[in-house]
């Protein structure tokens, strides 16, 4: 069936339903059909990581997944990180440690780091760097990002 399909999914706790061609990429569905433009498109071949979102709790690239594949999934994007009107501790750490400049890789960095810190709540710096190598940044030299993730780790570990 190349005809439009119905996609029902939950994004940041809110249910959505849309219709699209089966070939529509998940990232395009989020940005165009749901107007959630916080997730960015950087390469469309799964390398730069700017489009990374949480799908059923784990980080994955939304540019190399079809929207129809996310039917029934629970997705979290950068727009869903704030809690009670305040920055999530990871977001706050990025601000504190200058973990962003242009902000374009930031959604991918945040979602990747969030997943990583759940898997590894007490990482070493090389482990942080290895995890963040999933996302390309051209502004920061990664310095502030690595610092931010290191600073957020104990805060998140305490909350867990």
């Amino acid at each position: 069936m190349a005809e439009p399909v119905t996609v029902r999914l939950t994004v940041n706790g809110v249910g959505h339903e849309g219709r699209c061609e089966p070939r529509k990429l998940l990232v395009d569905f989020l940005r165009e059909d749901l107007a959630l433009t916080g997730t960015h498109v950087g390469c469309e071949h799964g390398i730069c990581g700017a489009c990374t979102v949480l799908i059923d709790g784990v980080a994955a690239r939304s540019c190399i997944m079809l929207a129809v594949q996310a039917d029934g999934a629970e997705i979290v994007t950068i727009e869903g990180l704030m809690q009670d009107g305040a920055l999530h501790p990871l977001q706050a750490a990025f601000r504190e440690h200058h973990g962003l400049q242009c902000g374009f890789c930031t959604p991918g960095m945040l979602m990747t780091a969030l997943d990583f810190l759940r898997v590894n709540p007490t990482p070493t710096e090389p482990e942080i760097r290895e995890a963040l190598s999933a996302v390309l940044c051209r502004c920061t030299g990664y310095h502030g990002i690595v610092k931010a993730v290191a600073a957020a780790a104990p805060v998140l570990a305490k909350r867990a």
Partner: protein, 290 residues
């Protein structure tokens, strides 16, 4: 970079998937984790008439231990392999290799069956399958068959699977108790496909090497089992001189190609260097003398 139009099916069973595959007569593609296929489709280099998505076939995601083997459903995510206690215990080489597969968000979706069926010669899983003499189960309209690692890979991105067949299970013999292992890889950046990678396992028996297993990633159009090098170790043990001789032999056994990242000669040289590193680490600290 948007894919061409295609028909999309998400069958719930392998039988349904096989029926669909038959219906499209070679014009359909199997979608597993999608981490290699979807980029090719976004580049419009892959243009299937239909996609048959295996992600809704729950019965294809499992890790089972049976008969001295670990059996992996083809749709088992690489991430699941990475964090599986039974893999850590029985197949630590596979676990170590998994850490070299792309990045965590890639491993969230990427599958063990997809990686092997895609047959990228620089990928880690085909090297491990080759080193450990694993096999894959394949189902098609003519029933089920088993392909040994040594028979599976034909050339770049090509296996002996027929277009109407689906790889359903990957089987790896559990590593013998006390086996040493190492996966060494050299890439220009973290997370890239290997320029050269080496999967190694050794089983020591006092000063002797009862069993040695060595296979490459990135050193030719298919993963190469370095049997002649293994034989030197099984004959002469795991001392420095034996490793030197075995890895020199290993470099002769590969026929790497050149690309913009590395020359053929450099890849051949790395085969030797990484095989030595892998063997020393697999052999453990006690094996250096002799």
């Amino acid at each position: 970079m948007k894919p061409v139009k295609f028909e999309y099916h998400a069958p719930a069973t392998v039988d349904e998937a096989l029926a669909l595959l038959g219906r499209y007569g070679g014009e359909a593609k199997i979608l597993a984790g999608g981490q290699s296929l979807m980029p090719l489709m976004n580049f419009r280099l892959s243009r299937p008439a239909a996609l048959i998505d295996l992600n809704r076939i729950a019965s294809l995601a499992y890790i089972r231990e049976d008969d001295g083997h670990l059996a992996f459903g083809a749709m088992t995510r690489q991430r699941t392999v990475e964090f599986s206690p039974v893999v850590a215990q029985r197949l630590p080489l596979l676990r170590e290799a998994t850490r070299w597969v792309g990045h965590l968000p890639i491993r969230s979706r990427g599958t063990i069956g997809g990686s092997i069926a895609h047959a990228d010669p620089a990928a880690e899983y085909p090297a491990v399958l080759t080193a450990l003499d694993g096999e894959v189960r394949v189902r098609g309209p003519r029933g089920e068959r088993v392909l040994k690692a040594s028979d599976l890979f034909v050339t770049y991105l090509t296996t002996r699977l027929e277009p109407d067949e689906i790889l359903t299970e990957v089987r790896l013999p559990a590593m013998p108790a006390g086996a040493g292992h190492a996966f060494e890889e050299f890439a220009r950046r973290h997370g890239d496909f290997a320029i050269v990678g080496i999967a190694a396992m050794v089983v020591r028996d006092g000063g002797r090497c009862r069993q040695a297993r060595l296979a490459t990633a990135g050193a030719g159009p298919v993963p190469v089992r370095l049997r002649a090098a293994e034989e030197i170790l099984e004959r002469d043990g795991l001392g420095d001189r034996a490793i030197e001789a075995a890895t020199a032999r290993a470099a002769e056994l590969v026929s790497p190609d050149a690309d913009i990242h590395a020359s053929a000669d450099y890849r051949r040289h790395l085969t030797r260097v990484l095989a030595a590193r892998a063997l020393r680490r697999a052999a453990g600290p006690g094996a250096r003398r002799g």
